[in-house]
Amino acid sequence: MRTKRIVKRIGYFLPLVLLLALAALWVTNCSGPRPSVSDPKVEAPGAPGKPYHVTARVENDSPGHGQVRVLFRLRDIHTGRTYQQSDQVTLRSGETLIVGVDISAPPGDYRPEVTVSYPP
């Protein structure tokens, strides 16, 4: 009797559970990357007239893969003036990359700011 009641109750919620499971499967199996960025660094140019080199660690903690856009900014801490450069990289599932770009800017004190976005 109790088993019958439990089966009946499961029967009520089964369509909803199936629907939610289908939606979850669809999204998780067709999902793209979920990128995060950390550890932005800037290297001063080795010689006058050369560009600054900005790097950051880009991590994908999603089971999905795909192309992401990484935006690098150099902000002058005195004037607030910014210089930017973007790059596109492809991330695999669980992959971590060190991404870097060269940004041409006049000599100064710069703070690196890096953001990553998906979809690019």
Binding site: L20, A23, C30, S31, R34, P63, G64, G66, Q67
Partner: protein, 324 residues
């Protein structure tokens, strides 16, 4: 006799006063869920608008779909707002009632909050005529009242069932409850029941008037010819009526709670396209004369929750799109 599914759509969970109360509580939660779910949906779409717009454009889905989703949620907010407000009031007065010295005072508070009736009574047409054994052919009334006060009366006049309420609007669900009680009592006595509501005046007044005139015509003809039973009927004993009164007393608190909620009384239509559009060669169609608000609102809540779930899932796991 209606099947389980048909009953679940027309009049779910009104077999006993306790179940009636559960149904009202579920309906209140459905309104709150619909309102809250739609608000969450709007917030998600606006909060992550950039993500959804980019995804829709990159995946060849029209961005207009997002506008449709927003309008859909906004529509549901407007639709469910009176219900959510009613459910909140119901909850407030239920909690206030628990603080009173006795439950009757709490129920009276609800009645004062609901105000007096100004609407016309709720009427339904039965497939069979109902009459009392001791007063055949005469209409009879059963009070809907308990210790906290009167909620009105149910008048049975042949195949006409009228709920004359004292507060707020009437309730079709009460009439459905009443009919289920008649069936249960008759079956317990070993009499063939099969009483069912076939017309609801609040849903289709013209068809109900037409049908009730026809049943009245049959009764007039019976009297004129002196022939009993031209229109099929069931007879209730005095004990049956006493049992019905007892059940109606038990359902009064649920009726007061229900009166806080709006009445969503509509017909229902279910279409099952076997060969869908644009061909649309075969489509199955089924309609119900009344869909209980719990069934309709419950379906809407499920749809909203699924949609909100998918929106949230897209935020957590954005779908793959081709690179640029």
């Amino acid at each position: 006799m209606p099947t389980f599914i048909e009953r679940a759509i027309r009049e779910p969970d009104v077999e006993t006063p306790q179940r009636y109360m559960q149904r009202v509580n579920r309906l209140a939660w459905a309104f709150l869920g619909l309102f809250g779910g739609a608000i969450v949906g709007i917030v998600l779409v606006i909060w992550k608008a950039q993500l959804y717009v980019t995804l829709s454009q990159r995946s060849n889905v029209e961005t207009l779909t997002l506008a449709f989703v927003l309008i859909f949620f906004a529509y549901l907010v407007v639709l469910s707002a009176p219900g959510a407000l009613g459910a909140t009031r119901m909850l407030y007065y239920t909690l206030q009632g628990r603080r009173q010295a006795n439950w009757e005072d709490g129920e009276r508070m609800k009645m004062r909050a609901l105000g007096s009736a100004a609407r016309e009574p709720t009427t339904a047409g039965l497939n069979l005529a109902i009459e009392r054994e001791d007063r055949p052919g005469e209409p009879f009334a059963l009070p809907v009242t308990d210790g906290a006060g009167s909620m009105g009366e149910i008048i049975v006049d042949g195949a006409t069932l009228i709920y004359r309420q004292t507060i707020s609007e009437g309730s079709n669900a009460l009439l459905a409850f009443f009919v289920q009680q008649i069936n249960r009592i008759l079956e317990q006595r070993g009499v063939t029941a099969g009483v069912d509501v076939v017309e609801w005046k609040s849903i289709d007044d013209e068809a109900t008037e037409e049908y009730l005139s026809l049943t009245q015509f049959a009764r007039n003809l019976e009297r004129h010819l002196g022939a009993e039973g031209l229109w099929p009927r069931r007879r209730l004993t005095a004990e049956d009526c006493a049992e019905l009164e007892k059940q109606l007393t038990g359902v009064c608190p649920a009726l007061r709670n229900e009166a806080f909620l709006p009445r969503w009384e509509y017909q229902g239509q279910h279409q099952l396209p076997l060969i869908p559009e644009p061909l649309g060669l075969i489509s199955l169609n089924r309609s119900e004369k009344r869909v209980d608000p719990l069934a309709s609102m419950g379906c809407a809540v499920v749809i909203v929750l699924v949609l909100v779930f998918v929106l949230a899932l897209i935020i957590l796991f954005p779908p793959w799109v081709p690179g640029v």
